[in-house]
Symmetry: C2
Subunit: 331 residues, 2 copies
DNA sequence: CTGAAAGCGCTTACAG
DNA sequence: CTGAAAGCGCTTACAG
């Protein structure tokens, strides 16, 4: 592997000059520049990004720590982050905590050790309390993605309240007042927001939310299947609609519905957040709140770039709107 | 940020000793070691991975260049790679070529510049001819993932021929001899293998494959929709089954089927490679060849680790078996 | 307009 | 058992 010294000696100049030519960081005589470029080509020289990073303050790389335990929206967020990073000439270091706070912490440490310029984090449920403090200690810029916090830090997520309000509107207008909310792990901020948004929306419209129509805290599709199954079998008031707050929860709930032999939308209306891919091709066609996942990822990178450009810029909190795809499952 | 010099002076030892304690690379008196560890904790020292990498031959990082233009199996492969990398203490640098050879090449260059220890590549359709040569030039170990080549290099993919044979068996046994194969971009080796596997399997069973029952070369779901629509409208021999070789192709084909008002499996049988998530929950329930995508990713990392451990080990080519999920769409 | 040299934070022969 | 010092491949004041 040719180094800058090889290029310099072949071109008959100092390494300073080679460096300045490569980085276009001070004026160099056209003829000298040409000699350098010729030497670069002749040696097949490629600048060592590691050595370069060591001398500069930045590495031109960012870290993404995502908590993806099977939610397809996260794959799109990763795509968005990757694409935006590439456009900014940044390398992307990816780690998945899979909802495990210990993995999350060690991923963050590894990324800090690698001196990434900044971090994007979709935190795990039960994320370690000191995690963000730790990053701040290192004065490393970071952006929260999808799973936001009530903190004065850059973050980008979706507007869960308005989406939930629209969905509740749609269902109640359609005559559904007994809505079973399958809300999952409420330590996850996005799920908590949907849960709160549901209660607010119902209250504002004058509807009660009986205890028996809440299924919360389940984490896997399997446990959701069981819980929803139990609720549907109980003698208590039965729902006329089910609203699942994630793909995993929707899968578990839908399986329970089918297991009971109930038809959607015949016996029960059904709506979901995130939802299934190509859901217009299959029955039941499920009304879905579709997150702009790719754009979330892109926006996170843009927020991070903005922060890197201006460390003292005011905090920015972005809420993108979801699109609701209304389908036959709620007609 | 504390450096090794800070730790050394606080502990009253040389930086050599600190380094040797941290890496456990030569004997150090227990008492000295203790002083070093105390200093490490007191300063909150964390070793700079960049500086470390510069002196050593390895960076403890690997690069993954994937060509994901919307195929969900790739998300699972990335998961598998990420998890296995983390288990080996490796950081993962991710890039997506999205089937664009130019992006692929620049991603590979960026990863080489960052001195990753090795590369895992799922190549783009029409991948640049010199790509693998370029990596070899740098003597950088690499593993081909999913999209294999007829080369003497480490690679891991699925056994497309046997899967296709089983599927053709299933369909022909069920009375389907007029099978419309939707095979996509044949420059993609996995799609080419399925295409070849189909022809071999049909020939071996004594069935003809008329030209009018081949839909090849489409890349998007939209163009597939159009092409399949045309074939279904033509006056030529009509298929009794459709076999789509990827999720994207299946989506386009299925949409065309529905657009024609045809029922699956009533009017047409339907089977797909890769396929849709949670497909047991929705109608039509589609017979699917499910790739072991997560394990493919894991295996790629393991192959790479093996190669790093022994550069002169014989080449290994792994073919994992897919599972076929038989469902009502082909009954 | 260009170069000599220091230095980023580590690891690792070399020496005792 | 431990330390002084070279060196990885760059960038960047400093100097002329």
């Amino acid at each position: 592997m040719a180094t800058i010294v090889d290029v310099a000696s072949l071109a008959g100049v100092s390494t300073s000059t080679v460096s300045h030519v490569l980085n276009d960081t001070r004026h160099v005589e056209p003829e000298t520049r040409a000699r350098v470029m010729t030497a670069v080509r002749a040696t097949g020289y490629r600048r060592d990004a590691l050595a370069r990073s060591m001398r500069r303050t930045r590495t031109d790389s960012i870290g993404l720590v995502i908590s993806d335990a099977g939610e397809p929206a996260f794959a799109d967020m990763v795509h968005g982050v990757e694409e935006a990073a590439a456009q900014h000439g940044l390398s992307l270091l990816l780690a998945n905590s899979a909802e495990d706070p210990a993995r999350e912490l060690s991923a963050v440490e590894a990324l800090l050790d690698r001196r990434v310029d900044g971090l994007i984090i979709a935190r795990a449920a039960g994320s370690a309390a000191g995690l963000l403090e730790r990053i701040r200690e290192e004065k490393k810029p970071f952006v929260l993605l999808d799973r936001l916090a009530n903190l004065d830090v850059d973050q980008v997520g979706v507007n869960n309240h308005s989406a939930m309000a629209a969905l509740v509107d749609h269902l109640t207008t359609g005559g559904h007042q007994r809505i079973l909310l399958v809300s999952g792990d409420l330590r996850v901020s996005s799920l908590r927001e949907r849960y709160d948004g549901f209660h607010t929306a119902m209250r504002e419209r004058g509807f009660e939310v009986p205890e028996g129509l809440l299924c919360e805290g389940t984490i896997t599709a399997a446990s959701t299947f069981e819980q929803v199954g139990k609720l549907l079998s109980s003698s208590a008031e039965q729902p006329s609609a089910i609203l699942a707050c994630s793909t995993l929860l929707a899968a578990g709930a839908l399986r329970a519905v089918q297991h009971k032999g109930l038809q959607v939308p015949g016996n029960l209306a059904f709506a979901a957040f995130d939802g299934f891919t190509y859901s217009d091709l299959f029955e039941p066609q499920i009304t879905t709140v579709r997150q702009p996942a790719f754009r979330l990822g892109e926006s996170a990178v843009n927020l991070l770039m903005r922060r890197l450009g201006n460390p003292s810029a005011p905090t920015k909190i972005l809420r993108l709107d979801s699109e609701i795809e209304f389908r036959r499952s709620t007609q």
